[in-house]
């Protein structure tokens, strides 16, 4: 069953066609990587899937709902309820502790629950660092907090933008292991990346070039 489906989605900025009639679908529970060189339309696609932008034409079905024509207020609601975001730059609120950063996500979603937030930090191995400010955490630790924050509201879809772009190899592996766990639990993962190694961890890789899907690669070795 498909969680996300793009039908002939185009995004035009003046003369530039950032996305050109792209169609793709992602099944519930699937782990998909999106690759492509700079300017291939990755970011645009990410914005559209993440409910932060609307396509010029085409349909985007998220969980059976066409989000391509929703108001930005509705898009905010959908993003909050269904999507967990992970960013390349981590993006934590600098003056809040790790656990408070996780709670911010709960706060906007429903109700802040410190015990649950601490448990989520435990899952990413940072139970002990819960009271630290972002400036007291390493990049890898910050990204793990962001993973905890993304999963705290049990989203249908976790959307990660270059999640390991700023990490060393050890931390990259930790984050990928966390993704693997989430995948096992049935969470749908879409990971935008440059890094072939990160893409190789996914079940399927979609390669974008010049705003079009150039090819799709099924990872034969997935799970092995």
């Amino acid at each position: 069953m498909s969680l996300l489906e793009l039908r002939n989605v185009s995004k035009v900025y003046g003369e530039l066609k950032a996305l050109d009639k792209v169609s793709l679908h992602v099944d519930q529970g699937e782990w998909v990587a999106i690759m492509g060189p700079s300017g291939s339309g990755k970011s645009t696609m990410m914005n559209i899937i993440g409910c932060m932008d609307k396509p010029t034409s085409g349909e985007v079905l998220l969980d059976g709902v066409d989000i391509s024509k929703e108001s930005s207020k509705r898009l905010t609601d959908i993003r909050r309820d269904k999507i967990g975001l992970i960013f390349q730059q981590f993006h934590m609120v600098s003056y809040l502790t790790a656990v408070e950063n996780v709670m911010v996500s709960q706060y906007y979603h429903s109700m802040p629950d410190e015990a649950e937030a601490l448990e989520a930090l435990g899952r990413v191995g940072l139970r002990e660092r819960a009271r630290h400010l972002p400036s007291q955490l390493s990049g890898g630790e910050q990204q793990r907090v962001c993973v905890a924050r993304a999963l705290i509201n049990h989203p249908e879809l976790i959307l990660a933008d270059e999640p390991t772009g700023n990490l060393d190899e050890a931390n990259e592996n930790i984050v990928l292991d966390l993704f693997a766990q989430l995948h096992k639990e049935g969470t749908t993962l879409i990971v935008v990346t440059h890094d072939p190694e990160v893409a190789d961890a996914a079940q399927r890789t979609i390669v974008l070039e010049h705003g079009k899907v150039a090819r799709e690669v099924i990872n034969e070795n997935f799970g092995k």
Binding site: M92, Y95, P112
Partner: protein, 486 residues
């Protein structure tokens, strides 16, 4: 944890953990609130401060006898009831007469007054030496002192000559035989005893009527019924001595004495005025820069014993009140139907009112400017805070914050800043106002308890208003910016 708790935790953390940034915002609002609270305190206090200040420029109200009436010291005390004691800075009664200095064949205007009152109503009087402290002491105006060459410690022999004007006060007919006399004196327990005596052709008492209604009924009050006691007076010539000419009524000695005193006073007042001479010691030379330098000043007691009258010509009052309030008091005095009428010294009250008006207008203007500057400053700081936190705002929106959440958070921070700034402003503002008051006006001010909530509310309102534009900008931030890996 409730949403509200988390909200408070976020905004307080934002302010407390980003100290250096928020300190600037807090400082701008705190300083603004300080100056505002200080100015408002001064603004409220200025009339009082200046009122006290103005009093050093002299009397602002005059009490004069009503036309055809005579004002005495006793009447004055009654008149002053109309003015609240705490607002009455001072009262200086004056009685003016001409006194002759026979040795130099000159005459001067002499003012009988109460020197304690003068020091309060005319603090600008400059005395070389000292004010007279007892009877037979004289304060001499500089002009006179230079003319006749007296110094502190010199003596001056002054004579009072009854004039036509003075004779008027002791009507001719009251002195002739066959007239009637009336007088009063203080009896038992402070109540007044009034007497009226008709004189026969030999100026002896023909008949006597007493009014002792203020006296104790079973003692002094018995006198009108006591024929024997009253009969003693018939045929006697005034003045009388109790115990010699007449005997006191037993059990009513005080009242009896009062009747005798009243009669003696009546006859004394009716007696033809005689010239009296007193040798004064000069205790001080007065410099005022005004016409007072051409006067000599003596105590009211001396004036009374020389002229035999306790009438007053004018009483200068210094009242610490605004022009409108003064007019109310003056109307109360004039309208009371007593012997006195009050007038404002327009020259003083008008200039006071205009100076006050200008001063309050100035403070008001400065307050307005400071208010505006504070708002601009806070707004600019908040604007900087918003652009500095663009990414955080984008992140919050990406995490699902609605526009109203972003608004609430920034407004919350603004209000919290306003609260802190307000407390700071109220406390420091009072210190500031106190410093200004002590340095400029030379007097301290009392803390207005209302200042604290008022300062907090105002600075919260300013903070909230200043946040409006920055908030609009924050709301307009695109959440997608967090994805671009900036």
């Amino acid at each position: 944890m409730t949403k509200r708790k988390m909200f408070l935790r976020m905004i307080t953390a934002s302010l407390l953990r980003r100290r250096s940034r928020m300190l600037i915002a807090l400082l701008s609002i705190g300083i603004g609130a300080t100056i505002l609270a200080g100015l408002v305190t001064i603004y409220v206090d200025v009339p009082r401060q200046m009122g006290a200040q103005f009093r050093s420029y002299g009397a602002n109200m005059l009490i004069l006898p009503r036309e055809g009436e005579t004002l005495t010291r006793a009447d004055l005390d009654e008149t002053l009831q109309a003015i609240p004691r705490e607002e009455l800075v001072g009262a200086a009664p004056y009685r003016y007469v001409r006194l002759d200095m026979t040795s130099r064949q000159q005459s001067f205007t002499a003012a009988g007054t109460d020197f304690a009152g003068v020091t309060q109503t005319s603090p600008y009087f400059s005395v070389e030496g000292a004010y007279p402290a007892q009877t037979r002491e004289l304060l001499v105006g500089k002009e006179i002192a230079e003319t006749i060459g007296v110094k502190v410690g010199s003596t001056m022999e002054l004579t009072w000559q009854p004039t036509a004007a003075a004779s008027e006060l002791s009507p001719e007919e009251s002195r002739v035989p066959g007239a009637s006399l009336s007088g009063s004196a203080e009896g038992f327990g402070g109540g007044m005893v009034y007497v009226t005596a008709a004189l026969n052709e030999d100026a002896a008492i023909d008949s006597l009527t007493v009014d002792v209604s203020t006296q104790t009924a079973e003692y002094g009050g018995r006198i009108p019924e006591d024929e024997t006691f009253l009969a003693q007076f018939t045929g006697k010539t005034l003045p009388l001595t109790l115990g010699e000419d007449v005997d006191a009524l037993s059990g009513a000695t005080v009242t009896s004495g009062a009747i005798v005193d009243a009669l003696n006073r009546a006859v004394q007042a009716a007696a033809p005025a005689k010239p009296r001479t007193v040798i004064f010691t000069v205790t001080g030379i007065l410099t005022t820069g005004g016409e007072e330098e051409g006067y000599v000043f003596l105590s009211l007691q001396d004036m009374e014993s020389m002229t035999g009258s306790d009438r007053l010509d004018v009483v200068e009052l210094s009242v610490s009140a605004g022009a409108d309030q003064l007019q109310t008091y003056a109307d109360a005095v004039t309208g009371s139907g007593g012997k006195a009428q009050a007038r404002l010294v327009k020259r003083v009250t008008r200039s006071e009112a205009s100076v006050l008006e200008k001063l309050t207008a100035l403070v008001f203007l400065v307050t307005l400017v400071v208010l505006l500057l504070t708002m601009i400053c806070v707004s600019t700081t908040m604007m900087a805070v918003v652009s500095e936190r663009r990414r955080e705002i984008g992140l919050r929106k990406a995490l699902g914050a609605s526009d109203s959440s972003i608004r609430a958070e920034f407004l919350g921070e603004g209000l919290f800043l306003g609260l802190l700034g307000g407390v700071m402003g109220a406390v420091l503002g009072f210190v500031f106002a106190q410093a200004v008051s002590v340095n400029v006006f030379g007097s301290s001010i009392t803390f207005q308890p209302l200042l604290l909530p008022a300062a907090i509310l105002v600075s919260m309102a300013i903070a909230a208003l200043s946040c409006l534009l920055p908030i609009r900008r924050a709301v307009a931030i695109d959440p997608a910016l967090v994805l671009k890996g900036e």
